[in-house]
Symmetry: C2
Subunit: 277 residues, 2 copies
């Protein structure tokens, strides 16, 4: 099953065609040049996409330990050297400060800016955490004939802040953010098995069914991303999400942080197949 994602609103048609045909390196260059600043879901199928949190060295140990203790929401693909803008492990010729389509700047836990390039915000004491993304298992789900509603609706995946407490580490604590995909009954088991087979990137769902049980009051109002239609007979299925660090940042209020904008991911050179096991 080939499931071409719908063009996100506001994207130029010729840029979209280039993005659909691009290698990860080519896609990053289009993004770096400012030609594409939209959600990346469905692009470069087979390659891992990544979330981002950038913190000062002062907070980096606590966050690294937090990620170690919470691998489902925070599967680390790469942690850069202090001060370096370059990713070397998950991609080559990759500038952390320009190669995500969109970023958010947090000061003392409050989002103050959303920008497409963070070069002018960079500091010598920053450490970048490049975190795996549920798009890595979406390829397999799509291959198995499971519709990704947000892709076919041309939207960003819906994400929710839950009441599921992460394991704290030093100053870092807060609740898990999850992504949601509505599934018909017969697709739930294959979705669990296929995503569970990639444990190093979120793995199996953290919850299936009643959103209220994990503290989600209104499924039609996601905290991040866009709402999607849930058809009669479908069940919402929730996976741990790499936007979790943003909820942590909002909770613990470090002096400075940069994240990607939800859904606007880094397209890496790492193949999803290499993230199994």
């Amino acid at each position: 099953m080939n499931q071409v994602p719908a063009k996100p609103e506001g994207v130029d048609e010729s840029v979209w065609q280039q993005m659909l045909a691009a290698s990860p390196l080519e896609a990053r260059k289009l993004i770096r040049q400012g030609a594409f600043a939209a959600p990346t879901s469905g692009l470069c199928p087979g390659y891992a996409q990544a979330n981002l949190i950038v913190l000062p060295r002062e907070q980096a140990y606590d966050f690294l330990l937090f990620a170690q203790r919470n691998p489902k929401p925070c599967p680390l693909l790469e942690v850069t050297e202090v001060g370096s803008r370059q990713a070397n492990i998950c991609a080559t010729d990759c500038d952390i400060a320009t190669d995500f389509p969109r970023y958010r700047i947090y000061r003392n836990g409050v989002m103050t800016e959303e920008v497409t390039d963070v070069s002018e915000y960079w500091r010598d004491d920053l450490v970048s955490f490049v975190i795996g993304c549920s798009f890595s298992f979406e390829s397999d789900l799509i291959e198995a004939g499971i519709e990704m509603r947000h892709n076919t609706m041309g939207r960003n995946v819906p994400m929710y802040l839950t009441n599921i407490a992460c394991k704290p580490a030093g100053m870092m604590s807060g609740n898990m953010v999850v992504s949601m995909r509505p599934l018909p009954p017969e697709q739930i088991v294959p979705a669990v098995q296929l995503s569970g087979a990639i444990p190093s990137v979120h793995g199996a769902p953290v919850h299936i069914g009643d959103p209220a049980l994990i503290g989600i009051k209104d499924i039609s109002k996601p905290d991040f991303g866009d709402p999607v239609d849930i058809y009669p007979g479908e069940t919402p299925v929730f996976w741990a999400c790499g936007v979790t660090p943003q909820s942590i940042v909002m909770n613990v209020k470090p002096e400075f942080a940069i994240t990607h904008a939800p859904g606007h991911m880094l397209i890496t050179d790492t193949k999803n197949v290499n993230l199994r096991g």
Copy 2:
């Protein structure tokens, strides 16, 4: 197949019988009391055993990042809070400073003491890294009828310093240590598959065959542990080993470090089955 390990030399027969029947908590208490200070291979089958490296907070970030970049030799089961002697995640009622049978003290990269209790060496700035151990997959190999030569010979598993460079992180760098088990040809494939199915604890072998290809000059002279017999027709099979941090410590010479003595592991409350995937 039930493969009762042979009693290590120097262990009192009644203590050995208690250890063979003990739960992990009971085993840790016998060790804490000083009754047992020998290798733990084969004890408490089904429960994960663990390696140890303890470093000052000053070096902890670099080591945590090193472990993140080198998960095969350094699969973290738990990282303790700064200064705490208690493990809380992989076991309960577990004192890091007393519950390993034997420890090594390193000063500036040189081993200066080997002791059975490190309470008097403890400092408020120490962080403990509790690292998974190949004994976790040995249970499955034994279950599949694969002989663990070091168990049946009543010895510590042979370990070798290789020429395989680990990925450096900050000040941490050095070569990988591997453990070796000799296998007849028909057992190599199942051994790869069974250990590979537990990727979070060392996973599949890093090398099969000629020891010289990974820098091992004399297979009969391990750098850690004891030599074992290799019968005609058998091939040496090498797995990444949690003693690797000791080679790192000897290489980068931090001012102070504590490790377990090779083979003398922590017996945790974590079941191996929970470390799959």
